[in-house]
């Protein structure tokens, strides 16, 4: 009974907020906003939008960020997998990169910022000996007008994501056999992989790649930390309009959100073109029979990009940790002159409330998402029908539609309903984004469960509830807790939905941290970034150690 409700509820929870949110965004852009007496169709707001200074540059920045981020991240992952799948180095790099997946985007962006800024760790390490800098140079490295540091910040976060998605797709292609075959035909390792295995893998990770494009072309938090400030990317500018106390700015913000939809759509369309180009190029290479057997440099580049991206984030996080404990720390000293707990003590009272909201929103949305994911999977199992391409796209919908474009409209509806900035509204908003990840992370282990255990339990006379709670759930403890850890990490990292639905009254460690970005106070940001890193890590620690502890007597339950 209950599990028949699962898919229905999930579809409603995913499509409802997106559909109503989009409507609530698009209608004001065309002049309909009953709360402000806007009842007439007009294109005036779109005209206003295009008379905003440098709006097309903002849009262009977003477009380029979307495509470039996806291209570089995917290239790194592809070259790395091509050159190293099946080697010992592969496993090591995988272990190095995987933890970054749970790190919020904002924390990774701060890490990069405090590493490469003029007063950052890199400059300190080489100054004054190599540079002669006694004071931080006046260089615009972070917040550069072309958005290069912003794209770098996005790339270091999307590489772990795409690597994990690729790893999930790998078992479905005969990697070793293809490599042996292409090698025996004289193809280099990279060429053999790209021509032989990649098309099948790429087909599996296409939706995640689209999600990267959609995210990077509409990112707000990373843009506020690393992006250009004078002419900010489109989504970041939209958020300032959305938060403007002058309510008539909502029309402009809505029109901007419409433009954001178009920009993300354009970025995706451009990518489809790139896909064709890539396919044509590899077909040409295959027909000509180019072997590319001197590919050591390419393989090295793949490895270097992986290690560099992870190294940057870890070094940046270490720098932030130093800052949070730093006493006096003058440029160009590589280490603080003294260490102190003062920042932590001073921050403690003000961080308690955001911390509480982060935990509550994270735990509640994860709990609901977990239950729904399990119900959906039970339903699929019972009916013997796996979700098709359409259902999967639906699941990815919250990750493919730019957040600003529908969360803004959703905010409007929540205002009408009088529930803006309440915990249930925040949980609902988080649920939309937690749900897809929860389902995707549980799917594989759920189907890997040996159903004969369930049949044995049934033949021993146990009903469905008893079978679920006494057999399936305990045996799958680790997988279920891992799903919860993934969901919780997603919730902790959510910036835009939290800012818009929390409306400044409900704040989390992520929204507080991003709000501090412009101040550039390393000590305070260090404390927040530490929490951002710690909370998801705690989730995964629970998922690892709790099952190990409960089932320590049972060897069959160890990994």
């Amino acid at each position: 009974m209950l599990n028949r409700l699962g898919p229905t509820l999930t579809i409603l929870l995913l499509t409802g907020p997106i559909a109503f949110g989009l409507a609530g965004t698009v209608l004001p852009a065309l002049g309909f906003l009953p709360a402000l007496d806007g009842m007439k169709f007009t294109l005036a707001h779109l005209r206003d939008l295009f008379s905003e200074p440098a709006i097309l540059i903002s849009a262009g920045l977003s477009l380029v960020a979307g495509v470039v981020t996806a291209f570089l991240s995917l290239l790194a992952v592809m070259l790395f997998v091509a050159g190293f799948a099946g080697t010992r180095a592969f496993g090591r790099v995988q272990h190095l990169v995987s933890p970054l997946l749970s790190l919020p985007h904002a924390a990774a962006a701060f890490a990069l910022a405090f590493l490469i800024a003029p007063s950052g760790m890199l400059a300190r390490l080489v100054s004054p000996e190599m540079t002669g800098w006694e004071r931080p140079p006046d260089l615009l490295i972070v917040n550069d007008p072309m958005g290069l540091s912003m794209m770098a910040g996005l790339v270091v976060k999307e590489i772990p994501f795409l690597l994990l998605m690729t790893l999930a797709a790998l078992p479905q292609v005969p990697l070793r056999e293809t490599r042996m075959l292409t090698a025996s035909l004289g193809y280099g390792r990279v060429a053999g992989f790209v021509l032989g295995s990649w098309p099948a893998i790429y087909r599996q990770i296409r939706l995640p790649v689209f999600a990267v494009i959609a995210f990077a072309s509409s990112v707000v938090d990373v843009a506020m930390i690393l992006g250009p400030t004078r002419t900010a990317p489109l989504a970041a500018r939209l958020v300032t309009w959305m938060n403007d106390p002058d309510l008539s700015m909502r029309y402009l913000a809505s029109a901007g959100a419409l433009l954001q939809l178009a920009v993300t759509g354009l970025a995706l369309a451009f990518w489809l073109g790139l896909e064709r180009l890539g396919a044509a190029l590899s077909k040409r290479a295959a027909i000509r029979g180019w072997r590319f057997n001197q590919d050591a440099l390419l393989r090295a580049a793949g490895l270097a990009m992986m290690i560099l991206s992870a190294g940057i984030v870890f070094a940046g996080l270490a720098t932030l940790a130093l800052w949070s404990f730093a006493g006096l720390w003058q440029f160009p000293d590589a280490l603080p002159a003294s260490f102190t707990l003062r920042t932590w003590m001073r921050m403690l009272p003000s961080i308690l409330e955001p911390l509480q909201t982060t935990l509550l929103a994270g735990l509640l949305s994860t709990l609901i998402a977990s239950v729904l994911a399990i119900l959906c999977l039970m339903h699929e199992e019972e009916t013997g029908r796996r979700p098709g391409r359409g259902a999967l796209t639906l699941l990815y919908l919250p990750l493919l539609v730019p957040q600003v474009a529908f969360v803004f409209g959703l905010q409007l509806l929540l205002i009408y309903a009088g529930v803006l900035a309440t915990l249930p509204a925040l949980v609902l908003a988080h649920l939309v984004f937690v749900m897809p990840y929860a389902y995707l992370s549980l799917k594989e282990p759920w189907y890997a469960f040996d159903r004969r255990y369930d049949w044995i339990a049934a033949s021993l006379g146990k009903g469905r509830a008893r079978r679920f709670f006494s057999v399936r759930l305990p045996v799958m403890t680790r997988a279920v807790l891992t799903m919860a850890a993934v969901g919780f990490a997603v919730s902790v990292g959510l910036y835009l939905p939290t800012v818009l639905v929390g409306a400044g009254r409900l704040t989390t460690v992520t929204t507080e941290a991003v709000a501090l970005a412009s101040g550039g106070n390393g000590r305070v940001i260090g404390v927040y970034a530490f929490w951002q890193m710690l909370l998801p890590m705690m989730g995964f620690a629970v998922a690892t150690f709790v099952p190990a502890l409960i089932f320590r007597r049972f060897r069959g339950m160890q990994v």
């Binding site: 009916t383 049934a458 069959g556």
Partner: protein
Amino acid sequence: MGEEGLFLDGVKIALGGRVLVELTREVPPGEVLTVMGPSGSGKSSLLAYLAGFLDPAFGASGRAWVDGIEITALPAEERHAGVLFQDPLLFPHMDVAGNLIFALPQSLKSRAARRAQAEAALEGVGLAGMGDRDPATLSGGQKARVALARVLLSAPRMLLLDEPFSKLDMELRQQMRTLVFDKARERGLPVLLVTHDEADAEAAGGEIVRIGS
């Protein structure tokens, strides 16, 4: 259908319009009906249909009675079909006694009595005192015997055996066959055995049905 034993009445299993098995048979208490066939012949699907967990991709019809009760009308958990697969499938998160106690009917309330029954069942398969062991630490033969003890504790009305001896080595296989068929005879349980091993069929001693050749 007041009579005792297992009665299959026109049981038919099809996949994609192709009929795999069609069978009408009677299995008296304590006797064995052996269904033989190569893998993919549908013999395991027959067993799954009787136990109540046939994949919905298969089409199945026909009825089956045990001791006068039509089991095909009941959910799996009310059929009292004792199932043994080729893997022992002991629950990995419970110790040996936990696996056995889980199988006992809920009507037996007292914890001490449940514990005692599990202990007695272990003794019955020659594993006295092994209740505290982690199933993962048992040998293949010991696991198979615990699985048998577990099935017998659930008070089954019949036994459905899906190549339960195929993963044991030669010597153990002969021992387990004797043990399983002795227990079934002792308790008067009708047995349906599906296998592709002629020696299994021989040891079972009952009627043999060949399918899918």
